[in-house]
C-alpha cells in the first residue's frame, strides 16, 4: 500500500476542566491514504470531533478557551516532507490550514461571516492559498468554483450574503472554500447532518465527484451509518475516546468485530436483531472505567476485560487491514 497522507501514532488529547482532567482522545492510531474516504463514526461525546480538531489544532488558543494538551504524533506528508501536526509551530500550522488540510463543519452559517458577501469570502480563501493571484483572475476563479460545486447562477451568488442562501447552498459554499486550496486532506465534520435527505444526497455526490478529481483524502465524521455505507471506503469507530475498530466499509458492515460496533449497527432502525442493541449510556468522560471502556455495556464482557485495556491488534479473522480493540477478537 502507498504511504499514508496522515498517520496518527498514539495521539492523546486531554482537557483540564473544573471537575478534573478529561482524556477526550486516548492512544489513537490511524492512517489515512490518498484518495480514500475514511469515515470516523461514534456517538456524541466519543471524541471524534475532538480528534479532528486536534489535527488542525483548533483546540489551541486563541480558537478555544479550554486549552487542549495534545501528545503523541500526527504525521502529515507534504510532498517529500513530513510534518508532525502535534509539534508544528503556529506559523507552520497557518500554512497547513491554508493549503494542506481543509475543514467543512456541520454548521455552515457559523463558518461564514454574516456581513461579508459570498464572493469576497471565497476569494479570501483562495488568496490565503495562492497569494499571487490578480484581482481579475481571483474573480474568475471564484465564479468557476461556485459553478464547480453546482450552485446555480454563480455570477449572482457572489454578491449575496450568507443569510440569503439555503442550508444546502451554504454547505456548497463551504465546500467550495475548502476545495479552493487544493487540500490533500479534507476534514468534513457532519457536513450533511443538518440537511434534508435529498440535499444530503446531492452534497455527498458533489463531495465524491470533487474527490475523484483531486485525489485528496477525506476524513468524514458522522454518526449516520447509512451515510457511511454509501460514502466511505474505510471506517474507524470511536467509543469513549478510543478508536475501537478500523475496517474497510464492506467488512465493517458485514462482519463487525467489536461488540460495540455490532451493537451500534443493530441499533440502526430497520436493521435485524441478531445482536443485542446497545443498552445504557456511554461513560462519563471524567470516570471512564478501568480496563476496556465498553465492558459495562458489553454483552460479551469477560474477566479479562476488567484487567487492562485491550490494544488494537490486527486480527486473523479477515485481512490484515482490520483492527479491533477487543479481547475477544484479539484471542
Amino acid at each position: 500500500m502507498s504511504e499514508p497522507i496522515l498517520s496518527l501514532d498514539q495521539l492523546n488529547v486531554r482537557f483540564a476542566t473544573s471537575r478534573g482532567s478529561v482524556a477526550a482522545v486516548r492512544s489513537a492510531d490511524l492512517a489515512i491514504f490518498k484518495g480514500e474516504t475514511l469515515a470516523l463514526v461514534g456517538e456524541s461525546g466519543s471524541g471524534k470531533s475532538t480528534l479532528a480538531k486536534a489535527l488542525i489544532r483548533l483546540n489551541d488558543a486563541p480558537f478555544s478557551q479550554a486549552r487542549a494538551e495534545i501528545s503523541g504524533r500526527a504525521l502529515l506528508r507534504v510532498g517529500n516532507e513530513v510534518i508532525d501536526l502535534v509539534s508544528a509551530s503556529r506559523s507552520q500550522m497557518r500554512q497547513i490550514r491554508a493549503r494542506q488540510v481543509a475543514m467543512v463543519a456541520q454548521d455552515a452559517l457559523s463558518g461564514l461571516n454574516p456581513v461579508v458577501r459570498i464572493g469576497r469570502q471565497v476569494a479570501e480563501a483562495l488568496q490565503s492559498a495562492f497569494p499571487g493571484l490578480t484581482r481579475t483572475m481571483l474573480d474568475d476563479k471564484v465564479v468557476e468554483l461556485l459553478d464547480e460545486v453546482g450552485l446555480p447562477d454563480p455570477g449572482k451568488i457572489v454578491s449575496r450574503f450568507p443569510h440569503q442562501l439555503s442550508g444546502g447552498q451554504r454547505q456548497r459554499i463551504m465546500i467550495a472554500m475548502a476545495v479552493a486550496r487544493g487540500p490533500q486532506l479534507l476534514i468534513a465534520d457532519e457536513p450533511t447532518t443538518a440537511l434534508d435527505v435529498s440535499v444530503q444526497a446531492r452534497i455527498l455526490q458533489l463531495m465524491k465527484r470533487l474527490q475523484a478529481q483531486s485525489g485528496a483524502a477525506t476524513l468524514f465524521i458522522t454518526h449516520d451509518l447509512g451515510v457511511v455505507a454509501n460514502f466511505a471506503d474505510r471506517v474507524a469507530v470511536m467509543y469513549a475516546g478510543e478508536i475501537v475498530e478500523v475496517a474497510p466499509v464492506a467488512d465493517f458492515l458485514r462482519q463487525p468485530m467489536h461488540p460495540y460496533t455490532a451493537g451500534l449497527i443493530a441499533s440502526v432502525p430497520g436493521s435485524h436483531r441478531q445482536f443485542p442493541r446497545l443498552k445504557g449510556n456511554a461513560p462519563d468522560p471524567l470516570s471512564v472505567p478501568s480496563g476496556c471502556a465498553f465492558r459495562d455495556r458489553c454483552p460479551a464482557a469477560m474477566a479479562t476485560c476488567e484487567a487492562a485495556p485491550p490494544m488494537a491488534t490486527p486480527t486473523m479473522i479477515t485481512q490484515a487491514n482490520r483492527q479491533a480493540r477487543c479481547w475477544r477478537t484479539a484471542a
Binding site: S44, D196, V197, G226, P256, M257, S267, G270, S271, P299
Partner: protein, 273 residues
Amino acid sequence: MTIEIRGLSVTYPTGLFGRGKPFQALDDVNLRISKGSIMGIVGESGSGKSTLGRVILRLLRPSAGQVLIDGQDPYASEDPGFRRNVQAVFQDSGASLNPRRTVGASIREGLDIHRIGTPAEREEKVVHLLEQVGLSASYATRMPHTLSGGQRQRINIARAVALEPKVLVADEPVSALDTSVQAQVLELLAGLRRSTEMTMIFISHDLSVVREICDRAAIMHRGKLVETGAIDAIFEHPRHPVTQALMRDMPRLDVPVTLPTLSPQPTGLAYVS
C-alpha cells in the same frame, strides 16, 4: 381517541405588515388516525408536518377545516380537559424542561395542576413514571442540565404521559439523539403504546425511524398530503414521486449484515455466515 382531519388549511402572512402573498403551510389536508395507532407524518423541512402537529395540539388555529378528536373540535368546544388528553414531546429535549426546576417537579406539574391524587400519591406516581421510562427514582431530584439528551427526552416522555393522555404528538422526538439512544427511546414509545392504547402522531423527516415504530404514514410536500398508507405498503410500493424520492435519498444499510453471535468461550466472537 380517533383523530379526523378534514380540509385543514393554514396560511401564514408574509412580508412587511403581512402585505406579501400569504404562505400556505397546510393546503386542504384530510387524514384519519384510528384509536391506538401510530401515524407517521413524514416530509422535508418546510413541508408542513410540524404545522399539522401544532394544529392538532391546539397551538395554532387553522385558517380553514377542522381537527376532530373523537368527534369534538377542540377549537369549537374549548374543552378544559383537552390538555390532559392531548400531550406533546418535541425535538429539543432541553428547551422543553424548565432549567430551574428538578425533573421530578417538571413531571409532577401536570398532576399538581389537575389535582390528581394526594401530594404523596403524586410523588409515588413520579417514581413510577421514572421507572417506566427506564430511569431510577434518584433522577427526580436532578436538574435538567445534568442529564444527557436521551435522558432528558425520557423525562419529557414521562412528563407527557403523566396525565395518561389519549393522544401524544411527538415532533421529531429522536432526531437529536444518537443511534443507540434513538433505538432505546423508540422502544420506550412503542412499549407505552402497547400498554396504554395511546393514539400517537409521530412527526419525522427520517423514513427509517418511521418504519421502525409507525403503523401507517402520511407523506407531506409543500403543505399537501401526497400519499397515505400502511407503512409496509409505502416502503414496498411508494406511489407518489415525492415518496419515491425520499426513499431513494434515504441513506440505508443495504448490505446483509452478519452480526456476531456470542459464543460462551472467550476465544473471540463467532460469526454466522
